[in-house]
Structures are given as C-alpha cells and as structure tokens.
C-alpha cells in the first residue's frame, strides 16, 4: 500500500453546478413546504390526531439512522485497524455529519412550533429519550467534527484512534437512542420492544453503507478518479452481510410477536391484512430491500459488476424507506388497544385502522432533507481534501502485489 494522497475536487464543471442547483431547488421547496405547513397549521398535511408522525418523520429517522451507519467505514479503519478502509474514512465521517444535518432539518421544520427550537435546546427533561437524543445528536456533531480534524491535520493525528473510538461508542449510543424512541413506547402494539434498538443499529449499518457506496461511486465517476476492485469488493461483501443481518432481526422481531397471542392482531395487520403496509413490508422491505440486493451482491455471475452493486445500494435505500414507513406509519395506523378483547368505536377513530395519505408538502420536506445531506457532501468535496486522488488497487489495497 502506497502513500495515499488526498485532493479536493475541482467543482467547476457544468455537472457540478447543475447538481448544486438541483439540490438547492429541492431545499427551497422544502423550506416553502415547511412555511406552508406552519402558516396554515398541520391540517394541510396528511397528518392527523391519529397519525401524528408522517412522511417527514420517515425521511428524518431514515437519514438519522443512516448517518451513524455512514460512519462505519471510518470506524472500521480507526477502531478495528483495517488499513484498507483508511483512505475512505474522511468521506465516511463527513457523510455521517451531512446525513444527520438533513434528518434533523426535517424534524425541526415539522415541529408544531419550530420557532421554539431554542427551548428544546436549553430545557431538558432527562427522562425523555427525545431529550437524550438532543444531546446525542449535538455530541455526535462535535465528536465527529474532532474526528475529522484528527484525520486531516497531522499535528493532531495521534489523537485519531481515541477520537475514532469515541465516535464509534457515541454512534452506537445514538442509534440506540433512535431505536428506543419506538422501543420505549409501551402502549402501542407495534412498538414496545427492546429489539428495536439493536435492530436500528444493524439497519444503520446497511442504510449508511448503501448511501456511502452511491456517493463514492458518483464522486469517483464524476471526477474520473480511479477506484480499484479491491476496496469495492470489500464494501460489497460488507453490505451483503448487513442486509442479511437486518433480515435476521426482522424475523426475530416478528417471530417473537407471533408467539404471543396479545400481538397476533398487530402481526396480522402488518403481515397479512394491512393493505399498503403489508405490501410495503413484503414487496418493499423484504423483496426490494432484502432479497434482490442479496442476490445482486452475492450472485457469482455479478461479482465485479459495479452496476449491480450500485443497483443493490439504491434498492437497499428504497427498502429502508419502506421499512421506516411500515414501522412509523404502520405502528400508528394500528389502533390503540384500550379495552383488549372488546370492539371499540367512537367519534375519535378508536378501534379503527387509521388512514394516512401523505401530501406533496410532506414529500418535499422529506426530499429537502435528503438534498441538504447531499449538498453538504457536494460542498465538502470541493472545500476539503476528502477523497484520495486514486484508489487503484496498487495504491489502496494493503495486500496488493505488483
């Protein structure tokens, strides 16, 4: 393995500025959507007193989960001392910050009172997982910021491993906090499960890596830098393992529920009778987000085919969004059980499956968060020495033999 040289990208091409303009347009649309929602009130969205968290939260939680996963490449390099991943650590850490920023923007702009963010930042109820998350998110920004500094400034390079280990521990805590937002909700049939926290961690591994792969491919293709097969092969195998692990956790989660009679109702709803949620579970999450990517990543005929790996990454992102939709919206659509064993009805939609139709404003707010993440990365690629000039096998593979 030779010395790795990093350089910023030129960022002067029409493609670069076109991408920036496109992303800026999405961000403007998101800001407009948020203003529209806040001005008129949330009744102009699909969200109601039944489905209180909607499509914006699907995007937000997905991005926040993916953020901690995107840091994995850096962690593998500095925590587990795998040299092959070292050249990618900078991009990994910057992408993590970018994804978190995008997710948080959505969450904040969907608040009923986003103007009161300062209250959320200064008054804490320490029994609230949300309050923990405020600290975990801002701490993540700080620790990963320092981590990037130790990667890029040789004078503080000796602290790199310490910063890397701190960031790794912090990201595990962060995703535990995100999963526990749902895991700790005792009253809802679809949540109230300790497995939510580790399941979210493994989801973050796959979603974050899938996005990382796509950004890596786009950056190297767009700048015509060389990306060798050795590193791509490693990323490919890693992604496959993570997708399989998600499926394992999903199986355990549902099997546990299926064994307990009290959960048969919600399981029948998600797995069989839930309409859009059942379709999103089987077709979106299991087939598109799980089985097809596994086939694309592991089929012997496709080894070495980057397009199949890129396609698998896209499908994992789509499947991940479907999984978030099933968890967040599906979990609310299934009615609360105030009186188990009774048929319940009221003027307030008790006992009925709640419907939800997302509006354009919510979609644009969600996509705007994605655009924020991407524009941060696109800007950082131009402003910082993030990417190695070459990742050809001769440069990047520690086991390469000339």
């Amino acid at each position: 393995m030779k010395l790795i040289r990093f350089a910023s990208i030129d960022g002067n091409s029409n493609g670069y500025w076109g991408l920036m303009a496109l992303l800026a347009a999405f961000i403007l649309a998101a800001l407009g959507s948020s203003y529209y929602m806040e001005h008129h009130g949330h009744h102009v969205t699909g969200m109601t007193n039944q489905i209180v968290w909607g499509l914006p939260h699907v995007f937000a939680v997905f991005l926040i989960v993916a953020a901690s996963g995107a840091l994995n490449i850096a962690s593998i390099a500095s925590v587990f001392n795998k040299k092959a991943y070292k050249p990618l650590a900078r991009l990994s850490a910057v992408l993590a910050l970018a994804l978190l920023a995008g997710g948080l923007m959505i969450l904040v702009l969907d608040l009923g009172r986003p103007d009161r963010l300062i209250i959320a930042a200064t008054i804490y109820n320490f029994k609230s997982i949300f309050a923990w998350n405020m600290i975990l998110y801002s701490g993540f920004m700080g620790i990963v910021g320092v981590y990037i500094w130790t990667m890029m400034d040789e004078t503080v390079g000796r602290f790199n491993r310490l910063a890397g280990i701190s960031a790794f521990i912090w990201r595990i805590m962060l995703t535990t906090g995100t999963g526990s937002i749902f895991g700790f909700l005792v009253a809802r049939q679809g949540y109230d499960a300790a497995i939510m926290a580790p399941m979210f961690i493994i989801m973050s591994f796959a979603f974050g890596l899938a996005i990382f792969n796509l950004v890596l491919f786009a950056a190297y293709n767009g700048t015509r830098r060389e990306l060798g097969d050795a590193i791509v092969k490693r990323l490919r195998n890693l992604l496959g393992v993570f997708v399989a692990a998600i499926m394992y956790f999903v199986v355990v989660f549902h099997l546990t529920n299926l064994y307990a009679t009290e959960h048969h109702g919600v399981e029948a709803f998600i797995l069989r009778d839930g309409g859009i949620f059942t379709q999103l579970f089987w077709i979106g999450q299991v087939v598109i987000g799980g089985l097809i990517p596994l086939a694309l990543l592991y089929a012997p005929q496709l080894q070495g085919c980057r397009k199949s790996m890129a396609l698998a990454s896209v499908l994992i992102v789509l499947g991940g969004l479907a999984q978030m939709y099933v968890i967040i919206i599906g979990g609310q659509a299934y009615p609360l059980q105030l009186f188990p064993g009774m048929e319940v009805s009221s003027s307030f939609f008790d006992g009925v499956v709640n419907s939800y139709t997302p509006t354009l404003a919510e979609l644009m707010l969600g996509l705007g968060g994605v655009a924020v993440s991407l524009i941060v990365v696109t800007l950082a690629l131009k402003a910082l020495h993030l990417l190695p000039i070459s990742l050809a096998d001769a440069v990047a593979d520690p086991h390469h033999k000339d």
């Binding site: 806040e38 009130g41 009172r113 609230s128 009186f339 319940v344 009805s345």
Partner: protein, 245 residues
C-alpha cells in the same frame, strides 16, 4: 313587645330549618368541594389527589352531555374536520366480542400518576401538578407530538390550525398539544369539572373528588364498590376510575 318577639323567633326557626334542608340537599355537590378548595395564595399540594369515578352503568347510551359541556367550557369549536379537530373527552362504545354486551363510557386524559406523556416530553411541557392533574405548558411545548405517541389512552390532540374566540381560562395554541385539564380553573375555585357538572344534571354517572381523602364521596364509593383502571396492566395508576366495565 312579647308578641313581636315570639313572632321573630318562629320566623328564625323556619328560615333556619329551610336553610338546613337546602344545605343538606346541595351538600354532596358543594360541601365536599368547599372543604378541599385551596386558597389562591396557597401552592398546589400533593396532600390532595384529584380524581374521577365514572359509573358506566349510569352512563346514558347516546348521551354526550359531558362532551358538549367540555367543548363549551374550554372553547373547543371544531372545523368540521374530525381527523384533526381536538377532542378532550369522547364517548366510547364497547362491545364484548364474546357476549355481544354493549356499553358506553366517556374517556379523557386519565391523569396518570406516572404519566407516559410526562416521561417522554423533551422540554417538560407535559407535566403533572402536585395534586395529580396532568397539563401541558403551552409556552414551552414545541409540538413534537411524542406525548401523543406515548399516551395509551389516545387522550391528546394537536392543534392543527388557527384558533379564534378562545376562553381566557383555557388558553390553546396552534402547533401545540393539548388535552383534558380536569377543568383545573374550576377545580382551583372549588368547583367540579364541567363534564361532571353536566353529567350530574341527569345521569349522575361521574364523580369528582380527592382520592387521598378517605371521607370523600369518590373514595368511599371506590372503597365500597371498587373501580377499574383502563390498561391497568401498564401500572400507570390513573386518576380516573371506572365502575361497570
């Protein structure tokens, strides 16, 4: 002079008797509250725990007097959008799947001792008063709706649009979460919540009082006849109890 004196005395006896009869007649509703009402200059104390008891056997099928009274008292005018309009109290119809037995009952914020909404609120806007009443501080609620996700009773509403003609004693705000306040403004004045007052006009299915006072009517009834909690399995020790479910 003697005659006049005699006449005066008999009048006083009559008036005194009438007052006593009237006093006995209204005592259950007023006397109890007078004892428990706190002076304005005194902080809310955990010596009392305000609670409600709902006898579902007396609850009128199709009667929504408690709902109407709540809406009127707290200025909850809707926008003809049932999915987003606030409902602080609602009538539930229950049907036993096995036996077909049907009953109705009102459900509102259950004012839990360990309230999940209070636990999950990031800013502490959801809070419980010392006397057990669970409220939302509209000034620091950021509208995240996590409390609505956490409430087992679907008791909370999010204000989805601009409001007009609010009541001074029940301030509300677009973009914040709200729920039954147990008519805290009336309780602090020694009065019953509006739903209880309305119900007592006909069906007399709702009782309000101090769960900590063994001599209060609600405590006596609960001791004598028992009372159930909705989702007792969650161990939240709600302040609202039900008989007949």
């Amino acid at each position: 002079m003697k005659t006049v004196n005699t006449t005066d005395t008999s009048k006083r006896k009559f008036l005194g008797g009438a007052a006593a009869v009237a006093g006995i007649a209204i005592a259950p509703g007023v006397l109890l509250q007078t004892v428990n009402a706190k002076p304005d200059n005194e902080a809310v104390s955990n010596k009392v725990r305000w609670g409600m008891l709902i006898d579902t056997n007396k609850c009128g099928d199709g009667c929504t007097d408690c709902v109407t009274a709540c809406n009127t008292e707290n200025g909850l005018t809707g926008f003809e959008r049932p999915e987003t309009d606030s409902q602080w109290i609602r009538k539930l119809t229950l049907k036993d799947k096995q036996t077909g037995h049907v009953q109705t009952l009102p459900v509102m914020c259950q004012h839990c001792e360990t309230a999940p909404c209070v636990d999950v609120c990031p800013t502490g806007a959801s809070f419980k008063r010392e006397d057990g009443i669970v409220l939302v501080d509209k000034h620091i609620c950021i509208g995240c709706r996590y409390c609505m996700m956490a409430c087992p009773y679907k008791a909370r509403s999010f204000v989805h649009e601009d409001l007009q003609d609010q009541k001074d004693h029940a301030p509300r705000g677009k973009g914040t979460v709200e729920s039954c306040t147990m008519c805290v403004h009336k309780v602090d004045n020694g009065e019953n919540p509006a739903c209880v007052t309305a119900c007592n006009k006909e069906h007399k299915a709702m009782y309000f009082g101090d769960l900590n006072d063994a001599n209060s009517e609600i405590s006596k009834r609960l001791k004598q006849y028992g009372g159930k909690q909705i989702r007792a399995d969650l161990g939240l020790n709600p302040g609202v109890r039900y008989q007949g479910v």
